[in-house]
Symmetry: C2
Subunit: 270 residues, 2 copies
């Protein structure tokens, strides 16, 4: 049995990279729905249908534990999937949950009323689609009170990363951090709410300053998975399976993935 | 009879502004399809249906001459509309045509083979959707040979302008110009292929340098319209009608339009 990691495209590879570094012994299957990416422009029903189909594909591949390494899918589909669709012998984790857990210092399943948390001023950097969804602010409000969240929609950053123009990506990140600081001069914490942004973690940290705690989803998900596997040691089998599946063109997706993570990655058809 | 100006949202107001300055006596009706904006995320059939419906609405309002002040609609729908849908007593002009005419120094209706033009290195700045459509490069290739076009998808700029953060918009424009120059160090001409960008014309010119001819669609469309009305003096009636229609919420759209053009604009329901 392996861990399934799903994303609409290649951004989830940063989550996979962090998981591999944190848990080098863990077998995994990555599934990119490149044929239907990006999800950010689709409506919620469409995202739900595509996401459940992809998760079923990973269950077929032997992954009883699936990570939705996709903010759009996590925001638009995970709550509905958890309420009525996921069988009791399977687990689906989103990229949002570990982030909210880290920020509020409480477990996701803790349904007590919202309470005050240490961090009062939070900057959220995400794609325009994730910012408009307000999913992060909504989930946070269920658990914490008195937290001021200022969101910056970082238009252009994902495109620049996908084109491989890291000079442009850095310039855009710095401009978006400046824009955020004009709205919120002293954030205590910053959330990178897009799976592409871990590639720009050092730039965000540098632009924000050393006093700002920068939360990267990739690292938090890897940490959360390590914790989960500690508590469920029989969840996974032996043998380091590493498989990359795509609904798109494997040759094209492999080339782009190799450029994206700066190491050789070979996809096959899902 | 008035000139109809159509856009999916508010960007077309820059075209309207240029038309008003060039032709202060001309009556017009502006129609923003704000209920369905942005068009950039829709497929071609969807854009065609929405655009033809909007143009019919402007015909009903007495506008026999309609300008599609929307790059997405011009790229995805205008050619098809002109081939089979527009009756002989109506005219629909897109924002692309005057641009191609200016760059190639020939009339749109001139169907002779493509030939060499003076400008060899052209920078195109547009939204990611317009860049991916390749409509500009395709139309140019019908008319000119030996022109090298380098496109820069300026992610984030429209969002920043719509949020009213002109400091961020300026920073993003400068970063995108830098990125373009890494790909094409010495462009002779630059095309602003998005109706929002005339608001950033001075920044583009400054970042590109005084030797680069910057083509703004708003000014070119106004010039082209002035030329057309010179040749068809009976096309318009008397009386300076000025009407702003929207498929969205008139109060909300009026507030955003007023911020966008920095003068009072009042929309009513289409």
């Amino acid at each position: 049995m392996a861990v399934g990691i799903f994303d609409s495209g290649l951004g989830g590879l940063t989550v996979l990279d962090a998981v591999e570094k944190r848990l080098p012994e863990v077998p995994f299957v990555y599934l990119g729905d490149n044929a239907h990416a990006p999800y950010g422009v689709r409506d919620a029903e469409d995202v739900y249908q595509l996401t459940t189909k992809a998760v079923e594909r990973l269950w077929e591949a032997g992954c009883d534990l699936v990570i939705l390494a996709c903010n759009t899918a996590s925001a638009a589909a995970l709550r509905r999937m958890q309420e009525s669709w996921i069988p009791s012998d399977k687990r689906v984790l989103g990229v949002f949950v570990p982030l909210i857990e880290a920020l509020t210092e409480r477990q996701w399943g803790d349904n007590s009323p919202p309470r005050e948390v240490a961090v009062k001023h939070v900057a959220l950097f995400a794609t325009p689609a994730t910012v408009s969804s307000r999913a992060f602010q909504r989930e946070l409000a269920f658990r914490a009170i008195g937290v001021d969240v200022e969101a910056q929609a970082c238009g252009g950053v994902v495109d620049a990363i996908e084109e491989g123009d890291m000079i442009l990506a850095e310039a855009l990140v710095r401009s978006h951090v400046d824009a955020l600081k004009r709205k919120m001069p002293d954030p205590q914490a910053a959330i990178l709410g897009c799976t592409h942004y871990p590639l720009m973690l050092d730039i965000f940290q540098d632009a924000l300053g050393v006093d700002v705690a920068v939360y990267s989803q990739a690292n938090l998900v890897a940490e959360s998975l390590a914790d989960y596997l500690d508590r469920h040691p029989n969840m996974l089998g032996n043998g380091v399976e590493r498989k990359f599946l795509t609904t798109g063109d494997p040759k094209l997706v492999s080339a782009r993935a190799t450029q994206f993570l700066r190491r050789q990655i070979t996809f096959q058809s899902a």
